[in-house]
Every structure is written in structure tokens, then in C-alpha cells.
Symmetry: C2
Subunit: 125 residues, 2 copies
Amino acid sequence: MRPLVHPSIEDVTVEGILHALADPVRVAIYAGLAASEKGTSCSAFLQLDDREIPKSTLSQHFRALREAGLIRSERQGVEMRNTTRCGEINQRFPGLLPAVMGAYQQQLMDRIKAAKRKGGKARGV
Amino acid sequence: MRPLVHPSIEDVTVEGILHALADPVRVAIYAGLAASEKGTSCSAFLQLDDREIPKSTLSQHFRALREAGLIRSERQGVEMRNTTRCGEINQRFPGLLPAVMGAYQQQLMDRIKAAKRKGGKARGV
DNA sequence: TTCAATAGTTCGCAACATATGAACTAACGA
DNA sequence: TCGTTAGTTCATATGTTGCGAACTATTGAA
């Protein structure tokens, strides 16, 4: 089993970051990791936003985030401790991550508002 | 020949924008359009950064940008007038586009600096 | 040790996406 | 009507993604 790959911060690319964060599932994972102080295991995201994510799919998403340089994963006993590398990235690309996450936040709020206007339950997928 | 599709600004998604801008060719096109005041034809980008882009590939890239909501394309006689929709997008997702384009700019400058440090010619691809 | 349990990874394949040459269409000007 | 220029669409080869099944690593008993 090959060891986990973490690019050094100089090898992190903007296109890589954008590609990784162009997927709602990965964004949700990233946001979850960013919110937790001391790192989170992968399996914490098996259930995400009412959606079931298969284990193998989750693993691929973590790999994508890791190889884009967005997160760091290290074994801690039987499970994984995942943390964001937002400090390093903010230093290399100041303002990029806040802008992206802020835009997603904005989009979420717009959707909630739009769902309310339609009167029914929030069915936005 | 089906008419060109332009999503209304409420239908523009963050994931769509990021996916479109996760490609260096499309970013170069977008930057070129953003720099020009009165719109630019597609064929202006057939030669890009020393690279030859095939016509059909270019057409797909323009379609991607268009359907992500990043640009507007309208026929002007025999050619196309492409313009960015950055005004609308900045209103809907304030700060997103400047942050992304700024990060690419940063990356470009870092690469130039790194190439200089290595002494040789700028071979960074 | 050996066995079972838990947490992730890797493999294989089907479905989807992308790049590009070739053929096509649309607008214009002889 | 023909030729030219500018883009689009089609066909296809190649690449990427999602997911079940099989595998690996670590820990904790028995």
C-alpha cells in the first residue's frame, strides 16, 4: 500500500485547488475539516447532507483533496486524522480559500431564500 | 445549429465557475477577454502562450465558459463577440473572480521567479 | 500467536468527460 | 452563386469518476 502523497506547498497549483473544490462533496468535506479543530476521520463523512457516500468514493475524494494540497492526512492508530492546510495556502495564495468558501456560503443562503419564496419545503439538491 | 446557451445569473453555480476556471487554457481566454474592452473573437486565441489550440477544442472551451455563465457570446457578422459577465458575477459572488484571477497571477509570478533562480531560461510549462 | 473488528485503500469496470480531425453551417463580399 | 472566414457539430480515441468487491493495516481481545 503506497504511502500518502502530500505535495509541498510550492507544488500546489491554483488549477489543482479549483478542480478539487469544484465538487460539492469535496467542498462539504473541506468545510467540515476546516470547522473542526483537531482533525477528523474520513468515516465521519460517510453520511453527508442526507446523502450516503460509499466508502471507496469517499477515499477518492480525500485523495483528491490531499493531492491538491488542501488537506493533510496522517494515520492515528486505526483511523485517519485529516486537517486542512489552509494556513500554508493562505500564505501562498492570499484570499483564495476565503473567497471560494464564501461564495459557496452565499450560494447556499441564496438557495434557502429561493426555496422559502416558493413556499414549499427546501428541496434544493 | 442550436442557439448559444447563456444561463441567467441566478442559475450560475460556484462549482460551475470553479470547474471552468480549473483549466489553464480557459483561464487564459477569460483573462484575455477581461483585458479587452469591446469583446474579442474566438479565433484571437488560436495561438495562446506559444501553444496552438485546435479550432474545435477552442470552440469547446468557449462553450464551457459560456455555459458556466462566465462569458457572453454574440454573433457580430461573420465572427463572434465574446465579453465577460464579471459585473453580474461580482454582484452575485463578490470577490470570487478577483481572488481566483489574483491567485493565478501570483502563481505566474512565483514561476517566473523560480525559473530565474534556476539560472536557465524560463522553461516552466 | 491467532482471530475478529474497524478504518481506509486499491482494483476493475461501467458511465461520463475531454481533445481533436473532419465535415458541416452561417454570414459576408465579390 | 461561389469562395472565404469564423465557429459549431460529429465521431472517436483517450482520460476521469463513481462504486462494489477485494485487500491491507492497526488494534484489541482470546
